[in-house]
């Protein structure tokens, strides 16, 4: 019998700490698959964020660094400038990339650093207990918006659209984890974002809408439906640049 599916080489055999229905596990696996398919495992240097994916290096089987909260793209900038032959990517949540690290994000993008950025948008801070994220939807209840987010607390920040306006940014696509067909599209986008770096194209970002059933207070099934029916209206899928 022929083996047609197995754990990617770039994924360790560790069970993840993620909650049931969380999107991080799938996103980690997609990254590992793409790294395998592009045969770059021995060239990859990943930067893990501060947030739920902080110990991504326990799951990926290639060189990884931690970064202080929000600083992943500053760390990645230096690594790539010194080692252009390596493939350097950051994996960051919405708080990391679009709140505390907005400055590092915008300026790395504006410099056109030849990096791959994987941006997990689950509209909430997961690691710290479900507080408001920059991408939290209006009306969405979180630990720090108990009555639902109002405009004065900030509108959902569309950082991908914002970055797409910068000359240094070459590729931006928003994908989702809410259905198998969408997961396949996400994998294609990730492949593109890594291939761009290998080809020297420049700053490439994939935003992944990812469920957080625990802090959305929904079942995994209802969380997927909420992305499909609500979140996508605020964060439309597809190629942004």
């Amino acid at each position: 019998m022929e083996k047609i599916y197995s754990r990617p080489r770039s994924l360790r055999e560790n069970p993840t700490h993620y909650c049931p229905g969380c999107g991080h596990g799938i996103a980690h696996k997609l990254v590992a698959q793409v790294v395998d398919e592009l045969d770059i495992r021995e060239k990859v240097i990943a930067i893990a964020p501060v947030g739920c994916a902080v110990i991504a290096y326990d799951y990926w089987d290639f060189d990884c660094s931690e970064a202080a909260h929000g600083r992943a793209l500053a760390v990645a900038t230096a690594i790539k400038r010194l080692r252009p032959e390596n493939v350097v990517f950051t994996y960051q949540g919405d708080g990391d990339l679009a709140a505390i690290g907005t400055n590092e994000t915008i300026h790395a993008a504006n410099r056109g650093e030849n990096l791959t950025v994987i941006f997990i948008n689950n509209a909430v801070y997961g690691m710290t207990g479900g507080q408001m994220a920059p991408t939290t939807l209006l009306g969405q209840k979180t630990a720090t918006t108990p009555r639902g987010r109002v405009a004065q607390e900030g509108l959902p920040l569309k950082i991908s659209e914002l970055l797409a306006g910068l000359g240094g940014v070459k590729y931006v696509e928003r994908v989702s984890m809410h259905a198998p067909a969408e997961v396949l599209k996400a994998k294609r986008a990730l492949t593109q974002a890594f291939q761009n770096q290998i080809d020297g194209v420049g700053f490439s970002l994939v935003e992944i809408l990812s469920p957080c059933p625990t802090y959305w207070g929904k079942s995994p099934q209802k969380s997927a439906e909420w992305i499909r029916d609500v979140m996508i209206k605020e964060f439309p899928l597809g190629r942004i640049k």
């Binding site: 021995e42 902080v54 202080a68 500053a74 010194l82 080692r83 390596n86 400055n103 590092e104 300026h107």
Partner: protein, 354 residues
């Protein structure tokens, strides 16, 4: 290279430029900085010369980005450095704590200015506590070196990078606006540059297991073990790396203590007093952490008094008191926020001690 001296003839440089040139010759491969007075000549010098040498210079969007770029650079195993002045160094504390926690070598230059807050751009030594007691969060120390002349600032860079690599730790070079801005002649002699094996560096995992650079350890006991390892390292540094200069201490009844730019003025005062046959000695701590306690602990030394002079309202004086362990009186004179203690003021203070 000719514009930057040939290593034999004397040339004239500012302290900021000498630090930059020293770093380049010590093998600094990566520099990131952000403009702030009075250290701007250092960044500009790096911008001019690093690319010529095939090295990386980045003007970062902030002090935070700069120190985190240095973190990334160091993680790849190259010698990396950033520089700033007091308010900017406060911003860098986050990154310095992470460098210490991840056991990454790096050199951070602080050309101190007046504080607190935005303060002013006059020379100051008011960041001594921040530099020597940790600065950022967590149980860590940076090695802190305080040169007192332009020539010494240049030479210090070789020592700073070597200590950083030897102990896998951040090293701070602490100067003040006076040292950064003043010009002095120096010979750009090549210092020793040792190669350090960096098997922990992130280079891609070809032919080896993946390397992980991290300071997060959630499992019970693991972080405590790391902290104990750090403490062991700090003890070794305290034993082996104390550096100081001393002058005429053997028969001194009063020893003046000062570091950095301040020590220049104090040393002149000591020379003048000796010329007048006063038994005055001089100690200049060069490593501020580890503090040179050995300089203050001499068996059989008869009664002596110390006078500590700083461009602050009394920071290093606390370490002198700890080193002396109440065996001798320790007096203090200092000014900060733009005021520099003068020779006359120091002599006046000495007069009150006799």
């Amino acid at each position: 290279m000719s514009a930057r001296g040939n290593g034999h003839a004397k040339i004239l440089m500012t302290g900021n430029e000498a630090i930059a040139e020293g770093a380049i010759r010590a093998g600094c491969r990566f520099y990131a900085g952000y403009p702030i007075t009075p250290q701007n000549e250092l960044t500009a010098y790096m911008a001019r010369h690093m690319p010529q040498e095939g090295r990386v210079f980045i003007q970062a969007e902030s002090e935070l980005a700069a120190v985190n770029m240095v973190f990334g650079a160091s993680a790849t195993g190259v010698r990396a450095m950033t520089s700033s002045s007091s308010p900017g160094i406060s911003l860098k504390q986050e990154g310095i704590s992470y460098l210490a926690g991840c056991r990454l070598p790096a050199v951070i230059v602080n050309i101190m200015r007046g504080g607190p807050g935005l303060g002013n751009i006059a020379p100051s030594q008011a960041d001594y506590f921040q530099a020597t007691k940790g600065g950022g969060h967590g149980d860590y120390h940076s090695i802190v070196l305080a040169p007192a002349s332009v020539e010494e600032a240049y030479r210090t860079m070789f020592d700073a990078f070597d200590l950083a690599d030897t102990y896998r730790t951040p090293v701070m070079v602490l100067g003040d606006g006076m040292l950064g801005q003043m010009m002095e002649p120096l010979i750009l002699e090549k210092g020793p540059v040792r190669q350090h094996a960096k098997t922990w560096a992130l280079t891609g995992c070809r032919g080896r297991k993946p390397n992980i650079v991290r300071s997060l350890f959630l499992k019970e006991g693991v972080l405590e073990a790391l902290n104990l390892q750090l403490q062991k390292k700090y003890k070794a540094i305290q034993q082996k790396e104390q550096r100081w200069e001393e002058l005429l201490v053997e028969d001194a009844s009063v020893i003046l203590v000062a570091y950095g730019g301040m020590a220049r003025i104090v040393k002149e005062a000591v020379r003048g007093l000796r010329a007048g046959h006063k038994k005055i000695g001089f100690i200049r701590p060069i490593s501020l952490w580890p503090f040179p306690v050995k300089a203050f602990r001499r068996p059989g030394k008869k009664s002596v008094k110390y006078l500590v002079v700083e461009m602050s309202y009394g920071q290093m004086v606390e370490d002198v008191r700890l080193a002396v362990e109440c065996r001798a009186p320790v007096e203090f004179f200092g000014r900060s926020g733009g005021g520099i203690p003068t020779e006359e003021e120091i002599l006046k203070k000495l007069h009150t001690m006799s």
